[in-house]
């Protein structure tokens, strides 16, 4: 197995993590508090894909728009339950409410789908792409391509549309945005919707190759948190890049040393980054740390 092939595998995983991290930062910037249910939202997206595949036996890539749409609605519901009633309270209130929402999601998934790991639909057919110097599994290639497309869509929305400009304005300075007539509450709800849609897409991408279990949301949450810290708290592209780096770093370290060191070295690298670049590799965007 070539180093390039291992890097491609790491990149595929990192691409899915990038969607998770981007969603995490969007909700963070909109609410100014960490949404601890975000990892469980990824898990929910994975189980939604499993459920949809049972009803619509089509490749996962065809289910992607449906997953994005349904998870966006879920994001609005999550904001209505776990964020809006506590808006204006200290961030710790939102921490606790989103932790509670995550636990509810986890137990609901166990009740509905059972505790066993489940496999979602393959994005495309099986097999591998022969590149001459490496063999890339089709699933990995499809994960990278699909994540890239979704991220491109997000970037277009945020930079080329009026809604995107309003979203960014409401996130940067809610008071000023409100004064200018921007409906900040609606923008926050939309941010939660997009964040959940991205998490759901990541859940779909990961569910076939890496399965989905009710209890794994915490791991995704941790990855998103680290990616945001590496990329710069509140930096959307920084977090996405940080997530890509995590995927490749873990695979590279595991291949070169012991697997057990991959995680330890990841946290060591994080500590070094925070020591020498406290605001992350690309600087902080959010004014306050949560």
């Amino acid at each position: 197995m070539s180093a390039l092939q291992l890097a491609a595998d790491g990149l595929a995983l990192g691409a899915a993590y990038a969607l998770v991290a981007a969603g995490f930062v969007l909700a963070l910037n909109a609410s100014r508090a960490v949404n601890f249910a975000h990892g469980d939202t990824v898990m929910a997206g994975g189980f939604l894909s499993v459920a949809l595949a049972g009803v619509l036996p089509v490749p996962g890539i065809a289910l992607l728009p449906l997953v994005l749409g349904l998870m966006a609605l879920f994001g609005v519901a999550l904001a209505a339950v776990a964020y809006f009633p506590l808006r204006g309270r200290p961030p710790v209130a939102v921490f606790v409410s989103t932790i509670a929402a995550g636990i509810v999601l986890q137990n609901a998934a166990t009740a509905w789908f059972g505790a066993a790991p489940r496999a979602g639909p393959p994005l495309v057919g099986g097999g591998a792409i022969e590149l001459g110097f490496a063999v890339l599994p089709r699933q990995s290639a499809a994960m990278i391509a699909a994540a890239g497309l979704v991220y491109l869509g997000l970037r277009t929305l945020l930079t080329r549309t009026q809604t995107g400009r309003r979203l960014r304005a409401a996130a940067q300075d809610p008071g000023m945005a409100e004064a200018l007539g921007i409906p900040v509450a609606a923008m926050t709800a939309i941010s939660f919707a997009i964040a959940a849609a991205l998490a759901g897409a990541a859940g779909l991408l990961l569910s076939n190759s890496f399965f989905v279990t009710p209890a794994e949301g915490g791991n995704f949450m941790l990855k998103a948190y680290i990616a945001a810290a590496i990329g710069g708290w509140g930096r959307l592209h920084g977090a996405a890049l940080g997530a890509l780096m995590i995927g490749v770093f873990e695979t590279a370290v595991a291949a070169a040393f012991w697997q057990i060191w991959a995680e330890a070295l990841l946290y060591t690298a994080l500590l070094l980054i925070l020591l020498f670049r406290p605001s992350g590799l690309f600087g902080e965007a959010a004014g306050t740390r949560a």
Partner: protein
């Protein structure tokens, strides 16, 4: 090699039902992890206990409590169960850390714990109130290593294990067993349960040119590794830990990905082997709309032995404990008898998949494989 002596489900049910009825069914707390990371196995454990108690509604009634994944939750559940009145025994969680927290309480309250936890330490602490109806690592890992060396003729196995307490304990048992059998471990590495990409560790294992790949991983990681190994070339025979025998694990993989994969286990009800097992499996499927595994069958047998104790006239926890400690119980999976430490199960199986479906075939039975 001695095949387990089996008695029919209907016979057990009839015998227990024919027992002189008590004034009221005794309460039998069933404390199991049905949420959290061990929910899959805990649900099987609960189902096994419930199926046993269903055969004797006049004798004992189940009171199920979820112990989730934290030791303190198990302790609270235990205290709550005992605060409501005396119980003859407790079906105790299979999660080792929870069992370690419950052991001193069981000794203090003098209540026997009946479990399917595989953690070796539980029965090495001199606690007379623990009874394990699932072969411990000392048994199954000995069978695991013997199959690799004696049947597959492997001399340079690679071992990939989980970095959890479960994984570390199994790795040590495997290392000792391979050493006794004269095999040299060509490669070994621990992997955290959260790892998603196993290709790096697989690539390194293959570089060591092993003649067998021995896994000691939890259910999800086992399936992940086997799927990723199926896409690689030069992978030798895989002999996995007991997680691979679980129907829920096999359901994650295509039959072709499972071809040639073997696993150790205490039992494999879906593999059949006798009419009694097949009847029990059909009953389990009907009752729970799920596939049974070795944990369900082990806990069923354990609960049936408690019922047999009650039927024999044991009315107090002390009497039930004495019965469990001294008597032999012919269960469906095997015959159970305490080794003096509470280890009741001493047999192990090796099952293999032929690539045609997801039902493993029993290829080898071991009775007391560690000697």
């Amino acid at each position: 090699m001695r095949a387990p002596r089996l008695i029919s489900v209907s016979c057990i049910a009839a015998a227990v039902a024919a027992a002189p009825a008590l004034a009221e069914p005794q309460r039998l707390p069933v404390l199991v992890p049905i949420t959290g990371f061990l929910a899959l196995e805990g649900t099987s454990q609960r189902n096994g206990a419930l199926l046993a108690l269903k055969t004797a509604p006049g004798l004992a009634a189940a009171e199920v409590q979820d112990t989730a994944a934290a030791p303190e939750t198990a302790v609270n559940a235990f205290e709550k169960a005992l605060s409501a009145g005396p119980v003859p025994a407790v079906v105790a969680p299979m999660l080792g850390t929870q069992m370690l927290a419950l052991l001193p309480l069981a000794a203090e309250r003098k209540v026997p714990l009946v479990t399917v936890s595989g953690t070796a330490q539980l029965t090495e602490m001199g606690n007379p109130y623990v009874f394990r109806f699932f072969p411990g690592d000392a048994v199954v890992k000995a069978a695991h290593a013997r199959y690799v060396v004696e049947e597959l003729k492997a001399r340079r196995p690679a071992v990939i294990y989980q970095t959890t307490a479960y994984g570390q304990s199994g790795r040590q048992m495997l290392a000792d067993a391979f050493n006794r059998l004269g095999a040299t471990v060509a490669f070994e590495e621990g992997v955290a349960p959260a790892v998603k990409d196993y290709r790096p560790v697989l690539a390194k294992a293959l570089e060591a040119r092993p003649d067998a790949l021995v896994l000691h991983l939890h259910a999800g990681p086992t399936a992940l590794l086997i799927r990723q190994a199926a896409g690689m070339t030069g992978v030798p025979r895989i002999v996995a830990g007991s997680a691979m025998h679980q129907p829920a694990t096999a359901a994650l993989l295509e039959p072709a990905e499972l071809k040639g994969v073997c696993a150790e286990t205490g039992s494999s009800p879906i593999s059949g082997g006798s009419k009694d097992i097949e009847d029990w499996t059909a009953l389990y499927r009907k009752e729970f709309a799920a596939e049974p595994d070795a944990f369900a069958l082990g806990q069923y047998d354990g609960a049936m032995m408690v019922l047999a104790a009650l039927k024999s006239g044991a009315r107090t926890p002390a009497a039930v404990r004495d019965y469990l400690a001294t008597r032999t119980h012919r269960g469906l999976a095997m015959s159970y008898r305490s080794d003096g430490k509470g280890n009741m199960a001493h047999d192990a199986l090796i099952v293999c998949f032929d690539g045609k479906d997801r039902t493993p075939r029993i290829v080898k039975r071991y009775s007391a494989p560690a000697g």
